[in-house]
């Protein structure tokens, strides 16, 4: 029987660089088949970022502004629905994928979740109406954060690099049971892959990562 697919969606080179190692770990685990999707305004560059990690994009969507991607993902998943979708950070294509997945009831895992600068107001997000023929609108730091927060609301599992990112999500009301501190060390992709497989019921939850509280050397007196 064929293994279920997980669609790993990258719309920027940064997202591809973050997602690539997790896709490799998923492939090694042999529980889900990672399908790499290159999307966004420059899918060729995203594909090249995958190539740098010795990976090949399985699906390349035509370059499109974020506005057109929800319908595109929805049509794609009407015929080829994955067991889960994995996106990263505040990637605009990731938001489109998360929206389309949520619309179809496909669980979403969010890598590099919880990074916040507390810049709240979107002024011209990727979803701001673009001028004709253009890509997305101007993407300010506030928009990036707004898009990341909306992905948070859509995701079922939040894969976190740092404890502070977990605190941000807890402050936003995300249940602790949905958080996984996968860390940012060499084992992080394996932990993230196991958490994603666990989300689909194919693996037990990963063991919690030990958190080391940073200590400082304090010198008293002269």
């Amino acid at each position: 029987m064929a293994l279920p697919e997980i669609h790993v969606v990258a719309g920027t080179t940064d997202a591809a660089t973050e997602l690539g190692p997790v896709a490799q770990a998923l492939r090694l685990a042999g529980l889900l088949v990672p399908v790499l999707v290159a999307a966004g305004a420059d899918p060729t560059a995203v594909g090249a970022a995958f190539t740098e990690l010795n990976l090949v994009a399985d699906l390349t969507l035509p370059a499109a502004p974020a506005l057109g991607l929800i319908a595109r993902f929805d049509r794609m998943w009407a015929n080829r629905a994955p067991a889960a979708v994995l996106v990263a950070g505040s990637d605009p294509a990731g938001l489109s994928a998360a929206l389309a997945a949520a619309w179809r009831g496909i669980p979403v895992a969010h890598l590099s979740a919880g990074m916040r600068s507390d810049d709240c107001a979107p002024q011209g997000s990727v979803f701001s109406a673009p001028s004709e023929g253009s890509g997305a609108g101007i993407n300010t730091a506030a928009d990036v954060e707004s898009d990341a927060r909306l992905i948070t609301q859509l995701a079922r599992v939040h894969l976190i690099a740092r404890p502070i990112d977990a605190m941000n999500l807890l402050d936003e009301g995300v249940p602790a049971k949905d958080l996984m501190i996968s860390g940012d060390d060499t084992l992080a992709p394996r932990r993230a892959a196991q958490a994603v497989a666990s989300m689909t019921g194919l693996a037990p939850p990963p063991a919690p990562m030990p958190v080391t509280v940073p200590t400082a050397t304090v010198r008293f007196g002269g």
């Binding site: 974020a66 506005l67 929800i70 319908a71 929805d74 929206l99 389309a100 949520a102 619309w103 709240c120 107001a121 979107p122 002024q123 997000s125 979803f127 701001s128 109406a129 707004s146 927060r149 909306l150 609301q153 859509l154 936003e172 009301g173």
Partner: protein, 116 residues
């Protein structure tokens, strides 16, 4: 005008009767706000948004034969909050509404929008 456009234009114009007109009697409503919701609470919340917001903009609309996914920007005096909405239509009425709010921005820019 299809039922989804009618619904969207009605609530943005603060036409509560228009919104009620296209909701199925047993419409299923879900949202991620920290408050229970039914069809009347939804109508009242949309009314509060329409009254308080300086502007409500549909920034994305993806359609299927049986529904649509929309993304709105809700512009308030001190900032903008975003909401996604998934709608299902059967026999010319909206039978399911699922709203996903940027709750941080909603709490910041639309205080008191919902009772919790």
């Amino acid at each position: 005008m299809d039922v989804i456009d009618f619904y969207t234009e009605s609530w943005i114009r603060d036409d509560r009767d228009g919104v009620r007109q296209v909701l199925a009697p047993d419409v299923d409503v879900e949202w991620n706000l920290d408050a229970p919701v039914d069809d009347e609470e939804l109508v009242q919340t949309l009314h509060r948004i329409a009254v308080f917001a300086d502007a409500v903009t549909v920034v994305s609309r993806a359609g299927r034969t049986d529904g649509a996914a929309l993304v709105y920007d809700l512009t308030a005096p001190f900032g903008t909050a975003r909401v996604a909405e998934f709608l299902t239509v059967e026999a010319g009425r909206i039978t399911q509404i699922r709203q996903v709010y940027d709750v941080v921005a909603i709490d910041r820019y639309f205080p008191g929008l919902y009772l919790n």
